[in-house]
Symmetry: C2
Subunit: 146 residues, 2 copies
């Protein structure tokens, strides 16, 4: 397996989306932990776990696709010593196709391993096609909870 070392969870996340854009299977798998407990859910897909299932799924996706550019927005990042959780919106643009594609919501979890930060969970699901504007951030009613 790859000996690539990502010094931060953000480095691993950047490499994940770069590999996704390039359709680069080795680059993609270099991001994942070498662990049978890894979990990947593609939009509207089953849960896949373990290196073999995850690798096969990306190989299938990269073989099928036209390449798309992807930008990540609205990241919420929560970090601790050994694990980091990023929630992001994935925004895809298919080359040569001006139509917008629905946003994909992703939860990405990274673990600090002996070989730097690696992805252990990627859970993606389509946001509702008729994307509503984000619910207004209410500053909340008075807290009268008990």
């Amino acid at each position: 397996m790859s000996g690539k070392i990502f010094p931060t969870a953000q480095d691993a996340e950047n490499a994940f989306y770069e590999a996704l854009e390039r359709g680069d299977l080795e680059g993609m798998m270099a991001v994942w932990a070498e662990d049978e407990e890894i979990v990947c859910v593609h939009p509207a897909g089953q849960r896949l776990s373990g290196q073999d299932e995850v690798r096969e799924s990306w190989a299938r996706i990269f073989a099928a696709g036209p390449r798309a550019r992807v930008t990540v927005s609205q990241q919420v990042a929560i970090g601790a010593m050994m694990l980091a959780v990023h929630s992001v919106h994935e925004n895809f643009v298919v080359e040569g196709d001006p139509r917008p594609t629905p946003t994909v919501l992703a939860t990405n979890v990274y673990m600090r391993t002996a070989a730097g930060w690696r992805m252990i969970v990627h859970h993606a699901s389509p946001a509702p096609a008729q994307a509503e504007p984000a619910a207004p951030t209410r500053k909340g009613p008075p807290k009268t909870l008990h």
Copy 2:
């Protein structure tokens, strides 16, 4: 807010699914961290973040629903000192309705806070309705990766 203390991430997860079954809004919110960075994605839903959006969504769900029983299966749990990630299959049975409902895939993330373990992320998405059996666990081709 509730002063409930969950000594382990699993205790918090148990309380989450009990509150979901009972339609118990206060019990549900007692599971979540009192943090504006919390994230919740209901099946086919937008990403919600912060206490107010998350609370409102559960209030809406509990007001609308018939109650359902839920069992959790095929848990993959990854823990570290301050964070724990559980990937589970949620299996719902609606009372009085014998038809099976599609499995929901959930990624649940818990954080150890001063008040014990609390949920910080719940990302749920429908598994494909035509549930295929889980992909066979191949023991993999010889590892000739470089």
